[in-house]
Every structure is written in structure tokens, then in C-alpha cells.
């Protein structure tokens, strides 16, 4: 028996002819090479560049800077802390408001309440829209002549600035960001919920458990894999947040985020490797969640 299995293994290895081995090498080599050249190598180069001075034009001009860029960021750039604060607000908002709302919606829609099909569609539409379009759509709400201005009784002539109002723009930005995030979370959770045995839930409800108890004691534990993924997505999205704010403010630092600072140093008034340092800081913050995700997803393979 043992030898038969061993023989089989040997045979299957031997059946890999020269041609087959070449095919396999190409199958692995081409995608991997591409992935390395256009993704991993540039990422590594950026890490190295973050320790240099460079204007991004001639390689000969690259000068070693040590940790000067980082020192400059941590000790000489107050806007960095503002950006960190905004990223933190984003994360907190998503964690405690947007993501739970998405989960709640998924839970209710999964119970097939009246109109659940329509609701699912409505909440998911923003997710398929490009941020270029989302920016325009929300501008029609807030800009002079827009809906919100109209409600406040302000015409084009005497409109107020909403994006430029520092008392409220954070909430407005969070609102628009949630507009997209909630549907995304809802969909992911909904798919997970389909795999939870519904009779379990009914049984617990008939036994007199409240809705909340059922959710916490039955549904949430059964959804563990999805929960981890949603936590990771929420964290990563909050750290990488960028497009929406870029659409509203461009590369100005009216409402800075880490990613906006990276871009501000890479485009606009001349390239500075401070941008690379910001990107590396962002990467460092992302490493934890990425590892968490990989561990959750490849749990069985890693054993």
C-alpha cells in the first residue's frame, strides 16, 4: 500500500515532461514577475526613497537623508497630526456607526422583512458608482443651487459654503463616506448570514430570547470568519481613505488625510520624498490588519 502510494507520487512527478515543466514555470513566472515588477518592487523602492532627498527627476540627484524626512514629519509638520486625527475620526466613525449600521441592515434584510429586495438594491447602488460620480452627486446636494441649500432657503446668490465650513464638514464627509460603506458591509454580511441556520434563530426566539440576545448569542458567533474580514476591511478602508476627500478638496489640506499628504508631496508643487515617508507610515499602520486578514483567510493552509 505504502509503496503503491510512493510509486504513484514518483510516477506523477516523472510524468512532468520537459514541456510540462516549462509550462508550469511560465504559469507561475509570468504573473509573479508582473506582480513583482509593478507592485512589490515599486513598494520597496518607495520605502528606500523615504530615506532620501529627491525631486523625482534624475536618479543621480538622489541624496541620502537618513531619517530626516520622518523627523520632519513627526516634529516639523503639524498637519501630519491633523491628518492622523482625521484618519482616526474616520476609523471611529466607521467602526462604531457605519459598519454596525451595515450589519444591522443586513440582519433585518436577511429576515425578509417587507420590501427587503428593494431595500437591498437601494443600499447597494452607491457601491457600484465611481467616486468621480459620487463627488458630483453630492455636490448637487451641497453646492450653491443644490438641494440642501434650497432647503435652507438659500439661492445661488446667497449660498453658504458647506465643504468650507469647519464646524460641519467632518460630519458631512463622514455621511457621504458612509453612504458607500454601509451598502458594502451590508452585502458582505448578508452573504455570510445566508449560511447561518435559520432554525437556530427561530428556536432561540421561541424560547423567549430577545432579538438582541439572539443576535449576540447565536448569529454573531456563527459569523466569526465574516466578522474578522469586516473588521479588517473597516480598518484598511479608513486608513487608505482618499478618493472622496480628494474629489472634494483636491490636494489641498483643507481636510487632510495621510493619503492626501502622500499625494500632495507627489504631485502639485514639486515632488518631495516626504510623500514616500508618509506612504511608509501608512504601510506600517496597514501591516497589522493585513496580517490579521491573511491569518483569518489562510488559517487552514498555515497549519
Amino acid at each position: 500500500m505504502k509503496t503503491a502510494a510512493a510509486n504513484k507520487k514518483i510516477r506523477s512527478r516523472r510524468t512532468l515532461s520537459k514541456n510540462d515543466r516549462f509550462t508550469l514555470a511560465a504559469f507561475i513566472g509570468i504573473p509573479t514577475l508582473m506582480q513583482i515588477i509593478f507592485l512589490w518592487l515599486p513598494a520597496l523602492i518607495t520605502i528606500v526613497l523615504s530615506f532620501t532627498y529627491w525631486n523625482g527627476i534624475n536618479v543621480g540627484d538622489i541624496k541620502w537623508a537618513g531619517i530626516a524626512n520622518y523627523k520632519n514629519i513627526f516634529f516639523g509638520t503639524p498637519v501630519f497630526y491633523e491628518a492622523l486625527k482625521n484618519n482616526a475620526i474616520w476609523l471611529l466613525w466607521f467602526t462604531f456607526i457605519a459598519t454596525p449600521l451595515g450589519i444591522l441592515l443586513a440582519y433585518q434584510i436577511d429576515r425578509k422583512i417587507k420590501g427587503h429586495k428593494l431595500y437591498e438594491t437601494v443600499f447597494y447602488i452607491p457601491v457600484v458608482l465611481s467616486l468621480a460620480i459620487i463627488g458630483i452627486i453630492w455636490n448637487f446636494m451641497f453646492q450653491p443651487g443644490g438641494f440642501i441649500q434650497g432647503i435652507m432657503g438659500r439661492d445661488i446668490g446667497n449660498a453658504i459654503s458647506i465643504w468650507g465650513n469647519y464646524d460641519i464638514n467632518t460630519y458631512v464627509i463622514m455621511g457621504v463616506a458612509s453612504w458607500r460603506h454601509i451598502g458594502y458591509i451590508m452585502l458582505l454580511y448578508l452573504a455570510g448570514l445566508k449560511s447561518v441556520d435559520s432554525s437556530l434563530r427561530e428556536a432561540s426566539a421561541i424560547d423567549g430570547a430577545t432579538e438582541w440576545q439572539t443576535f449576540r448569542k447565536i448569529v454573531l458567533p456563527a459569523m466569526r470568519p465574516v466578522n474578522i474580514i469586516i473588521v479588517v476591511i473597516t480598518i484598511i478602508e479608513s486608513l487608505r481613505a482618499f478618493d472622496l476627500v480628494y474629489i472634494i478638496y483636491g490636494t489641498s489640506t483643507a481636510w487632510p488625510l495621510l493619503n492626501i499628504l502622500v499625494f500632495q508631496n507627489f504631485a502639485g508643487q514639486g515632488i518631495s520624498m516626504k510623500g514616500a515617508a508618509y506612504a511608509v507610515i501608512l504601510l506600517v499602520l496597514c501591516v497589522g490588519p493585513i496580517l490579521l486578514y491573511l491569518r483569518a483567510v489562510f488559517k487552514e493552509d498555515l497549519k
Binding site: 508550469l24 508582473m34 431595500y119 470568519p225 507627489f266
Partner: protein
């Protein structure tokens, strides 16, 4: 008997509660869809009406003029073609390369399989800003090397390659977790029959991958269609930019005629929304294949 009564009581109570919840969520949904409806409404009205009668004025004219004008004045047809030149090859190439890696990883037991999977999956989660400067610089250098600076920079090919490099990780991950569910016996019989590696991939495995390939294809078409950012960095020529980047550009140009802009936004949004409605099943399963396999 008593349980039945209790059941009924419970069900009635639950029903009332559910109706309340439904109304509440319905209200929420209305708020959700409103900005989109408002944009569509705006696109149907001439700008002059709003200027002279105000935002909430009863419409004197409702027509599709803005849509025709958007196509004509904004030159949307050309931009749509640009999008097509980028999206179709990028999606096909991503699926092809992703399926190659997934095939090897799930059908052959090499030592480096897991590392390979990790490399691809982690690559998909990197903050993309890490790559901007080197990619930009690399494109120009590779172009110079071949004596043609716009070989990759300011060229569709360059945009396609970065999209593929970034998305292939997700495709690999989804396809490999799907392929693990395909029985090993199918592969074994192919090998026993003396099929070459290529035939094993092309004639045996690829046909079985149709459902996840379709799901991924839909999802990635949507993602790549929606991206406007790479084109802003890697396309120096306005006329070669995809439609989403162009819309972003036009937002600045047509800021004074926002009814025209609204029509433009609706036109550009239409393909992905239609795609979602028509291929909803693929859409959802594409996302969930990748995220709920735990």
C-alpha cells in the same frame, strides 16, 4: 395546544414589529436613494429654469436635451471608447493570469504554493500610493529604453498593466479558493490520460471555472471602469483618459452648467448600474467568494 397559542402570539407580535422595522428602513432607503434621484431630476431640467425660477421651482421644461448636449459638448463617446480600451484587456488579462497561479497552487503541491498565494493576496491590500512614484518613473525609463517614451506612460498599455498588477491578487485568491472545491479526481484522471499541463489547465480546469470567472469579470469590470485615478497620473493627454477621469475634468469646466454635468454623471454611472441590475447574482457572488471563504 399551548405552544401553538404561544407561537401565534409570538408571530403576531413579531409581525407588528417587523412592519415597523420595514417602515423605518424604508425611510432610510429613501434618504439613501434621494441624491441619485435628485441628480437625475436635475439632469432633466434646463439650467436657465433654475437660474430664473430657483431650485425648487415647478419645472417649465423637462427633456433630454442635457443628455444630447453632454454627448456632443463633452465628447463622451471618445472617452467611453478609451474606457473600453483599458477595461476589457485589463479584465481579461487579470482573469487569465489569476487563473494560471490559482491552477498551479491548487493542483500541484509545490513548497512555495502558500508563499505565492500570500504574495498575491497581500499585494492586493497594499496601500496603492506606495507605488506611484516608482511606477511613474519606471514607465518613463522603460519607454526611453525602447526609444519611445509613450510606450507605457501616456498609453493604454501602461494603465492596463497597473490595473492587472493590482487586481490579479484578488482574482488569484478567489479562483484558488474556488478551485480547492473542485474534486482532485478530475485532475488525476486528466493526468492519467496523459494530458499535458497546458491541456489540463485549458481543457479540463478552465471550463469548470466559468462561474467564478464570470463573477470576477463583472466585479472587476466595475472596479476598473470606476477607477479614475491611475489615468490622472499616467495619462498626460486629456483625450486618452477614460470616461470617469474625463468626468472629473469636466466637473471643473462645466461647473456653471450643472444640469449638463448632471446628465454627464448619469450617463457615466449608467453602465455599472445596468451591469449591477442585469448581472446582480454574479456581482454579489464575486464579492462574497473573496470575502467569506474563511
Amino acid at each position: 395546544m399551548t405552544t401553538i397559542v404561544r407561537d401565534k402570539k409570538y408571530r403576531d407580535k413579531q409581525k407588528r414589529k417587523d412592519n415597523l422595522i420595514s417602515i423605518f428602513i424604508g425611510f432610510f432607503a429613501l434618504v439613501w436613494i434621494f441624491p441619485i434621484l435628485w441628480t437625475v431630476w436635475t439632469s432633466l431640467r434646463p439650467y436657465n429654469d433654475i437660474i430664473s425660477y430657483g431650485v425648487f421651482s415647478w419645472p417649465k421644461n423637462l427633456n433630454f436635451d442635457n443628455y444630447f448636449n453632454a454627448f456632443r459638448q463633452m465628447g463622451l463617446t471618445r472617452y467611453f471608447l478609451n474606457t473600453l480600451y483599458v477595461t476589457v484587456p485589463a479584465v481579461l488579462l487579470t482573469l487569465f493570469l489569476g487563473s494560471l497561479i490559482a491552477f498551479v497552487v491548487s493542483r500541484y503541491s509545490f513548497k512555495f504554493n502558500l508563499s505565492l498565494l500570500l504574495l498575491f493576496t497581500a499585494g492586493n491590500m497594499l496601500p496603492i500610493v506606495l507605488t506611484y512614484i516608482p511606477v511613474f518613473w519606471l514607465y518613463i525609463k522603460i519607454g526611453d529604453l525602447f526609444g519611445n517614451r509613450s510606450l507605457l506612460y501616456n498609453n493604454y498599455l501602461g494603465i492596463i498593466l497597473v490595473h492587472v498588477a493590482f487586481q490579479v491578487g484578488f482574482a488569484t485568491f478567489v479562483l484558488s479558493s474556488y478551485m480547492k472545491t473542485v474534486p482532485k479526481e478530475i485532475s488525476e484522471s486528466a493526468i492519467v490520460d496523459g494530458a499535458s499541463v497546458f491541456r489540463h489547465y485549458w481543457n479540463v480546469m478552465l471550463p469548470l471555472l466559468r462561474p467564478p470567472l464570470a463573477a470576477l469579470g463583472v466585479l472587476m469590470s466595475c472596479w476598473i471602469y470606476n477607477d479614475f485615478f491611475w489615468a490622472l497620473i499616467l495619462m498626460s493627454q486629456d483625450s486618452k483618459r477614460p470616461v470617469t477621469s474625463a468626468l472629473r475634468q469636466l466637473q471643473g469646466e462645466y461647473v456653471t452648467d450643472f444640469n449638463l454635468l448632471a446628465a454627464g454623471a448619469v450617463i457615466v454611472a449608467a453602465p455599472t448600474v445596468i451591469l449591477f441590475f442585469v448581472l446582480r447574482k454574479q456581482f454579489v457572488s464575486g464579492l462574497t467568494l473573496g470575502s467569506t471563504k474563511g
